[in-house]
């Protein structure tokens, strides 16, 4: 195998947006000073999105039309399961399970850059995904600055669009913030100390080592990609290392700081505009730092996804309720009525038996009459031929339109109303599905749809999430 590099990438940002001014206004009675930082909008995850679902959406862009990787690394500090392989759930949704080594990577805000570096220095084609939906305490500045998103990079040895010239990692017991296991939100130290003693000292050391490893100088770098939840940290570091190129867009407006995913999300954004033969300095910070020196190749245009960071940011669904975001993040204990008491227990036996269909949304095509149907049951719905003749047909990327629809205000749903209807796929399959990210204007019959991987049901009694695919309108509402 020749040298590994990045051959494709993808990105995802939740469609839901909230203007920071709305958040600040909700806290004005207690924290009037927040208003000064309330510029632009932040993304927030819907109730049925988490690090797993966002990882799937980002990865779809990175693996489309490519040979399957041998390994998958999922980086995040906000994975839903402490003991259940999150990366395996992602792999199942991507239909990559066969002969795949999966790993969850976490524990630091630089989990994304660390996972990418490990893959680039590794020996096998690897899909690296960083995904995070950080939650902050209401009234904190983090609540304004945090966002959510995911980015995915396919590291392989063919059609390499971005190769590693050199890198360095530094470890330091620098506690800028921490979050104890089992806690939802961070405890953070003073911002000035973090910026000056943390970013200001740790990162330049890592950069110097990485440049030396790559055999280049700072003047050879065109793009500086460093995420931080502290505004101004990246320009300050760039200045201190005498960087004179382009400082990457921090994606502050429309996204916000997406935690361990943010470095890779910013890298994906940079790769959408960078030209071939340019060098990128990528930094991840957290109890030390990773610094990677990367160089683009002529394959870069082919590496770009159909839906990247820019498209995801543009595909916004503005919302106007701070309480909605708070509710989705578990910040308020709403009274959803007795209907919400329904048990959502999952039969794990059944889930395993039907994983082939459910996880990656795979329909069956009848070997006798060709009818494509989901779910694939024991006999063809049309000609009654037995299932043994069926062949798998994924519906994830199949074009579809809305056949019937209603907005249901009666069912318990964490984001009422529940939009539901029949989805008619171009290949003939038809599925009754939940519709998500429907704007205030609603959705009508014949609307063009795409499929998204989401939390189907959250069993709060047992702490279990089950996932399935939902439909969403193609354009922003």
């Amino acid at each position: 195998m020749s040298a590994l590099g990045i051959a494709a990438f993808g990105a995802y940002v939740p469609r839901l947006r909230l203007d920071r001014a709305i958040i600040a206004e909700a806290h004005r009675w207690a924290m009037p000073s927040l208003k000064a930082q309330a510029r632009g909008s932040r993304a927030f995850a819907s109730w049925d999105e988490d690090a797993i679902t966002m990882a799937v959406e980002a990865a779809r862009g990175a693996i489309a039309g490519r040979a399957a990787p041998a390994a998958l690394r999922l980086a995040s500090t906000r994975l839903p399961y402490a003991d259940l392989h999150n990366a395996t759930i992602v792999a199942g949704a991507l239909d990559l399970l066969a002969m795949l080594a999966t790993a969850d990577v976490g524990g630091s805000q630089r989990a994304g850059t660390s996972a990418l570096l490990q893959a680039l220095r590794g020996t096998e084609p690897t899909l690296v995904i960083a995904s995070e939906d950080p939650i902050a305490r209401p009234g904190s500045t983090q609540e304004l600055h945090f966002g959510a998103g995911a980015a995915a990079f396919l590291v392989t040895d063919t059609d390499v669009a971005l190769r590693l010239l050199g890198a360095a990692s530094i470890s330091a017991p620098f506690v800028d913030h921490f979050r104890a296991a089992g806690r939802d939100t961070d405890y953070q130290w003073e911002e000035r100390w973090i910026r000056d003693e943390g970013y200001g000292r740790v990162v330049p050391a890592a950069i110097a080592a990485a440049l030396a490893d790559a055999g280049v100088s700072i003047g050879d770098i065109q793009h500086f990609v460093m995420p931080s939840y502290l505004r101004g940290a990246a320009p300050a570091v760039a200045k201190s290392v005498r960087f004179a190129g382009t400082i990457a867009d921090p994606l502050d407006d429309g996204v916000g700081y997406a935690g361990a995913a943010h470095a890779l999300l910013m890298l994906a954004g940079t790769l959408e505009t960078a030209g071939p033969g340019e060098r990128i300095l990528l930094v991840g910070f957290g109890q030390g730092a990773d610094a990677l020196v990367l160089e683009t190749t002529g394959h870069l245009p082919d590496a770009r996804p159909a839906r990247g960071v820019t498209a995801a940011i543009a595909d916004a669904l503005p919302t106007d309720s701070y309480l909605r975001m708070l509710s989705f993040q578990g910040g308020i204990d709403m009274d959803w009525g007795m209907r919400a008491e329904k048990s959502a227990k999952t039969a794990l036996t059944e889930q395993y038996r039907s994983a082939g269909q459910i996880d990656a949304f795979v329909a069956g095509a009848c070997g006798a009459c060709g009818a494509v149907q989901f779910p694939q049951l024991q006999y063809c719905a049309n000609c009654h031929a037995p299932a043994a003749s069926f062949s798998p047909v994924p519906l994830r990327d199949e074009p579809a339109k809305l056949l019937t629809v209603t907005a249901d205000w009666l069912s318990y749903h964490p984001s009422p109303p529940l939009h539901v209807g029949f989805v008619q796929f171009d290949n003939g399959a038809r599925v009754q599905m939940e519709l998500v990210d429907v704007g205030a204007g609603g959705i009508e019959v014949d609307a063009a749809l795409r499929m998204v991987f989401r939390i189907k049901e959250h069993d709060r009694q047992r702490g279990y999430r089950r996932y399935f695919w939902k439909s969403t309108p193609l354009g922003a509402a």
Partner: protein, 400 residues
């Protein structure tokens, strides 16, 4: 070659509890209320019943599993009692089972009883059913109105009906039932409702507003069936006989193949075709004297008029607005107020509908009595339009 059960089974007696928010009664009391009326009507003692079928949909808010609760409530000593559950078709299923037992010659007298106690859930509307370990992994957890409301979108798209026209037509469906329901002493809701109130009601599942949805009630209804010969031997002169009992359950075609357009209920059409054939009906528009159809939601009744062949496809909106199915229209529908006014205690509804037709045929319908009907049709639709069970019973006067 099977010939069906037309005129092979007579209804000896029927009973129906008062429907409504029966805070005073549990399922056993409701069953007894219906049962005592039916026994008195039939003129027999419970010891003459040789077999019984008990319908009940939701055991979580009802009586628990098996037929034992019914056998115990009614003290049916030592006879076969079976429990049936087929969603909203459950009541009709019990009648079908009892009638088939009589038609087969297995027993002379059989009981069909359905009971449901919905008001013990603690909230309005139906409980969300468990859909099975597999279906729960992928099916959306929509409410019953959400399942039926989708008919409106499919119907509008197929026939090019405006949102306003359809809303007015389904509003008329509900208005008409509330007009009729005031003459039904056993109905849950007995007050006329102004059209403006119906149209302006809060949305439940778009475009179905609150008044487009049937009530949530407790109730029980039952039938005692026998052979026509036995009915005559027991002194009956006007005999109501079963002309047809047909069921059609979804095989998944609608949900999985691209052939259905969402504007109709194929199972109702299947069941109706078989029922008309069994009953020897060639022109239901002129031969039927009244209908009780499954108006769980107003859009269901409207579409059902087409599915039963009582309106041309795409014309039910206009027939409804023209009053074709009002009490003084060409074919009265829901003369007792329907599910709209009685509410929909699931397993009781099919038998409650049959009870109304039975009452009308015998001239016992009081203030809502129609002039001399001789043939009536009851229709249920269990589940949702695209994945459900349609049930049709046709009752008529023997010899007419």
């Amino acid at each position: 070659m099977a010939t069906g059960i037309k005129d092979k089974v007579a209804i000896l007696g029927m009973g129906c509890s008062r429907f409504g928010e029966r805070w005073d009664a549990g399922s056993p009391e409701l069953m007894a209320e219906a049962f005592e009326e039916a026994l008195a009507d039939a003129g027999i003692g419970r010891e003459q019943i040789e077999a019984a079928w008990f319908g009940c949909y939701g055991d979580a808010v009802n009586v628990g599993n098996s037929a034992i609760p019914a056998a115990t409530a009614l003290r049916l000593d030592g006879i076969p009692v079976s429990r049936m559950e087929n969603m909203c078709a459950t009541g009709t299923e019990t009648l079908r089972a009892a009638a088939y037992a009589v038609a087969a010659g297995a027993v002379d007298v059989a009981l069909a009883i359905g009971s449901e106690k919905l008001k013990d859930t603690g909230y309005g509307g139906l409980p969300t059913p468990f859909k099975g370990t597999f279906n729960d992994l992928w099916m959306p957890m929509g409410s019953a109105p959400a399942g039926f409301a989708q008919l409106a979108s499919g119907y509008r798209a197929r026939h090019g009906i405006s949102r306003d026209d359809l809303k007015r037509a389904i509003g008329h469906v509900s208005w008409k039932s509330h007009q009729n329901g005031q003459h039904s002493p056993k109905a849950h809701f007995r007050k006329p409702v102004p059209m403006e109130t119906i149209l302006r009601a809060p949305m439940i599942a778009d475009p179905l507003g609150l008044f487009d949805c049937s009530g949530v009630s407790d109730g029980a209804a039952c039938a005692i069936v026998t052979t026509p010969e036995m009915a005559r031997a027991l002194g009956k002169t006007d005999i109501v006989s079963i002309k047809a009992l047909q069921i059609s359950a979804s095989s998944g075609r609608e949900t999985q193949l691209a052939e259905w357009d969402g504007s109709s209920v194929p199972n109702t059409r299947n069941a109706a075709a078989r029922a008309y054939r069994e009953a020897g009906i060639t022109d239901p528009r002129t031969q039927l004297g009244l209908t009780e159809v499954h108006d769980c939601f107003s859009i269901t009744e409207l579409v059902t008029m087409e599915d039963l062949g009582l309106s041309d496809d795409g014309r039910a909106v206009f027939d409804v607005l023209d009053g074709a199915f009002d009490r003084d229209g060409r074919l009265p529908c829901q003369i007792d107020g329907g599910l709209k006014c009685f509410g929909h205690p699931i397993a009781a509804s099919g038998l409650r509908m049959a009870y109304e037709i039975y009452s009308q045929l015998l001239g016992r319908a009081g203030g809502r009595q129609l002039a001399d009907p001789s043939l009536g049709l009851a229709h249920n639709l269990g589940g949702v339009p695209y994945q459900g069970v349609a049930a049709i019973s046709i009752l008529g006067l023997m010899g007419r």
